[in-house]
Symmetry: D2
Subunit: 372 residues, 4 copies
């Protein structure tokens, strides 16, 4: 089996896997150490040569995870190796910082980077919904409430509603603050004397992250807000996927996902044609909810660094990012090849509903399209 694994590739696209991989976390941690060295250099706390050496260092990263057991986090070992690689500038490495500074800043950095492909997938979903809303402005279908036919709507309006949900969740992800973290051993930056706040500002700028009001080792909102926003984005995606699965039922058959090349096939039944993109999207979205619950629980941590709650964020955040990206990607795929059957939509409409007005459907579509 390739290193990509067995289940992950089914539910998470390469770009998102890469962005949240262990390698990405390590890369981010090293970037954090480099950014710190530059901020320290800018404030003349360490020499330019030291910063250059730290930037140039290429520590061996093999086996860091196993070596991290005794400390309970990988930074202690990473710093040890980075110091070894920095030679005479070892003392300048990690100066003023603590493990949590590196991991928290790496977490927001990983998130910022992973949001690029995640938002790209959400963009594609929004565009897909918008295309359907435009194309099917006049496609009459049953509105269904409590799983029963209610009054007619248009498929364009349904897609416009999907669009609004996903676009709204996307807007929230875009506006989230992703702060750098730098507090030193307990949030005072005591080793940096009066320069602490200024170094924090420079450090954040180096990383392209937001500058926090104060160190957030004990205030886990950045991670919890992110977890919640990801769960909501995944939920908005999941809603669309659920509707597709329902519309694709054999007895409804109003939409179908693409099936070229055996896509959506079964190991036992040749005639089957499963809405596999939507199913994968629903699967991935559920994992985000589980991860978000871990992140929300982690807000209540002890004192200046929690003994368990903090550490639980690393894998949960990774999972929340992966799952959201995966859900959006799978839904994107489902929408891309979606066959819509307007005839069937009309035929499915109960006789007594056919020809009823669809009221403000068009007006609402126009309003939703502005969110695109």
């Amino acid at each position: 089996m390739t290193s990509r694994g067995l289940f992950t590739p089914i539910f998470v696209p390469e770009a998102v896997q890469d962005a949240v991989s262990d390698e990405a976390w390590l890369r981010a941690m090293l970037d954090v150490e480099v950014a710190l060295s530059r901020a320290l250099t800018a404030h003349e706390i360490i020499s330019p040569a030291a910063s250059t050496a730290i930037s140039a260092a290429r520590p061996d990263l093999d086996g860091i995870g196993v070596a991290a057991r005794d400390a309970g986090n990988p930074v202690v070992e990473l710093v040890r190796r980075l110091r070894a690689a920095a030679g005479e500038h070892a003392d300048a490495v990690h100066l003023g910082a603590t493990s949590q500074d590196v991991l928290d800043s790496a977490a927001t950095l990983v998130a910022k980077r992973a949001l690029v492909p995640i938002l790209a997938e959400l963009d594609a979903v929004v565009a897909g919904c918008a295309a359907l809303a435009r194309e099917h402005r006049g496609t009459e279908m049953a509105g269904r409430t409590l799983m029963q036919q209610a009054v007619p709507i248009t498929f364009g309006l349904k897609a416009a509603g999907w669009l609004a949900g996903v676009a709204g969740a996307r807007a929230r992800l875009r506006e989230l603050r992703l702060p750098a973290q730098l507090g030193g051993a307990a949030g005072t930056l005591s080793k940096l004397g009066d320069d602490g706040p200024a170094v924090l500002g420079a450090f954040a700028r180096e990383l392209g992250l937001d500058e926090p009001v104060l160190p957030w080792h004990g205030d886990r909102r950045p991670v919890a807000e992110l977890g919640a926003a990801l769960a909501i984005a995944a939920g908005a995606v999941e809603k669309v996927a659920l509707d597709i699965v329902l519309l694709a039922q054999t007895e409804v058959a109003e939409v179908a996902e693409a099936s070229e090349g055996g896509r959506g096939g079964s190991s036992a039944m040749a005639h089957k044609h499963n809405p596999v993109g939507a199913i994968r999207a629903r699967t991935a979205a559920r994992s985000v909810r589980g991860a978000a619950s871990v992140l929300l629980e982690a807000m209540a941590g002890e004192h200046e660094r929690a003994a368990g709650a903090w550490q639980s964020e690393w894998r949960a955040l990774t999972e929340a990012l992966a799952g959201t990206g995966g859900a959006a990607w799978s839904l994107h795929e489902a929408l891309d090849g979606l066959t819509v059957d307007p005839e069937r939509m009309r035929a499915n409409l109960s006789d007594d509903l056919r020809g009823e007005p669809t009221g403000a459907a068009d007006a609402f579509i126009d309003r939703a399209l502005e969110l695109e």
Copy 2:
């Protein structure tokens, strides 16, 4: 026992209980029907006399819950009674609307109203943290990471961190959009012809709620965002409460909650003095997390009205509001009577840590106080 109940009064203050009570929901539902009638009158769809009659109607509300079983929601029965009370104007009642319009608009209205006492409690918590931050700017204490003493901080800095967390969560609650919902049977407002969007706008203004881009029967972000923001606010409160409980431990004894009148006493041990406000805050916060998980799961609902997911929001939202208000109220109480023992804080500091600098503590306190 009074109708206030056995457990609820321990964890939720009267003002919040009132704001999320069944009576408050019914009042909100009636307000929604009245607002609808006014919006319809403004667009000359029903007569001013009809709107007046609907406003003046006082339907019997007894036993609505039991009568609501056959419909699975209370609006059908409420509308029946409201029509009976509206006499000749019965046909004008609920015109163009569906059950979900009334319940969803009532939900955001209940939330908007409940946020008043909830935000007032959060304000009090923020003010309490700010007062501590100011007063204990120079109070040296141990910074503790992984439950071990790390380097010195000041209690003022600790309180500033609490402040930042709660103030940030409060800001998010304040900025949430709370939209009205009006879509008719399946989101098209088909019974209102071309007036649909305009009536929706007028309806939202009548209620003092936000106007949505389009009906959100299938896009549950308003409720999910609210649930998430409440869970995060509860989490920010819980973090403070946890720190208080830890600082109040017999062996630490750096803070104590007020104990006049037997507060914090035990049924078995006269000498005990429990941090009961903080404990109650932690309890209430946990219930919010459970409720928020229900709200996040409810995002994935079927078609134009979900068959189970939607209905699960009513009690979960009620619980999330009650628990957040309760957590803030209990923490407010804990902070109000908090005794801080600077001598003990200093004495607890390990010898090798005493006198170490506290770096940017003051600067960070100043920055946090701007959030007050």
Copy 3:
């Protein structure tokens, strides 16, 4: 509005509401105090007259919840009132016990009593599934995987699968250990000298509860196991309800819930006929999951009595019991009036699937019926 409330009656039947009400908790707490007095009398620690006085005491229960705020639990106030009511025997009240003993024993007692109507509803569900399995042994229908028609099954087999799930969850609920709790201030029963374990045994027998190996103030498995078993029972019920909702879709129409007297009607559309029992069951089941997550989190509590985790169990356990009972009750109602349309089942079967064999369906039905 009646005291029964607005939403609760829709989702929880009277018998279960009564069994988990605040009054039921108070009754259980008083029963616990009485049982303790009898166990103490049996070991000659207090006099028979004291026990008789405690049994006969009728303390005023009004306003206990509000009065419980200062202690953070209602037992301190309840004991104060019970002592007042016990007159000269006041000292014998609550002797050797602590608040947690009373609340934990009351919790398992409330659960034991609530399980009677809950299990009765589950019995009815099992019987309903069994009746369908028997009646529709030969009713051919589409087996559906990933929401697509796969190969034919019988409706009897489908009902047999439902039966197996609910009967299995019921078996787990029946076998759960529900222990009494008696440990005194910190689990040593120190006030009872050498008689502690014997009193614990007698106390458990008085309550009809299991005797624990040792006090479980710090080992919350009894409550967590109960929460998990309830969530699983609710999940088994929810699965059936989901299938019913899907089969009742307008386009599938293979089953329908009873509709006499306007049941399942809509506030906006006369033609609608909603599967309201199944919808209510799905709603109630979701609340159990939220509550169970609170109970599982509560396992990690501090030392000999947790400061927040323990207290969070009271309302979560109440909700988990109510929701499970409500889910089973609503599904029972759905099954009771279920109309099954074998003709439609056959007609819905894709042409290429009709007439295919249904293999071991009958044999599996027979095996499942043994679980009834």
Copy 4:
């Protein structure tokens, strides 16, 4: 970085990682196909030569995950490759089975195998608690309720309570039914004619798994029960870890984890000595709770195979097993090197509590030790 990764090795031991790895899942899936072929041979449905060929086949497993996207599960691709590897016996491969049969049986097989190292770690935890209970039978310490000193207990009693919790959770894991799954396309085993149930029995025996009453494609209790039992085991472990973290606080200092070789050290502070095993155990336990919530939600799946719920089980189950094993392993490590300071325990006891009786502590220890 090694393939072991960055975070996983910190929290999960090799033996458990191996048991739940993608390779382990693939191995289990192949074992399932082999077991099926043997059961089919035993019933003369395929030839002994075919079964031998299937057993001997070594299909290329590289890239299965990526290739599985189009089907949404890896079995379709695995079967394709296995058929290719089976040459002339291709038709005998996977005969009568469907993807879910293979994945569900693999899931219980993976669980059964992973429970071996998980239970071994739980055994070690139980043994560690028992040793402490025996050794510290007479070690007086403060009982602490609501984080305040209450009355004296012994450390032996505390450890006995830990033991009871973990041993009870272990007993539940041991008694869980782990059934094989074989139902064919929709649960009828239609391709096996009358032999279906007998083949199912033989298949289960081949795998050493329990035989289900009927196929459980729609009855997800086996997985949900497992998830709940793992969450409860993790919770029991977490409780002990929380107590250790609290007892190891600088100001309490009644226990300390082993510190040889820099274990528990800090990246910023040489004097620190963190209870790293307990912290890791708390971290791992939290991930189990998140995964269990996914598994409980997955119970409500559509018809004969769910479109999203089912698929969400694979990674959640993997995570639940890994986290429980990791929590137990880390706590095992914490207990193994635990230094207990009876002098400090006595010194911490408030003066007014010293010398008070510890009642039934010894008797309860004896009772708990029988659970070992």
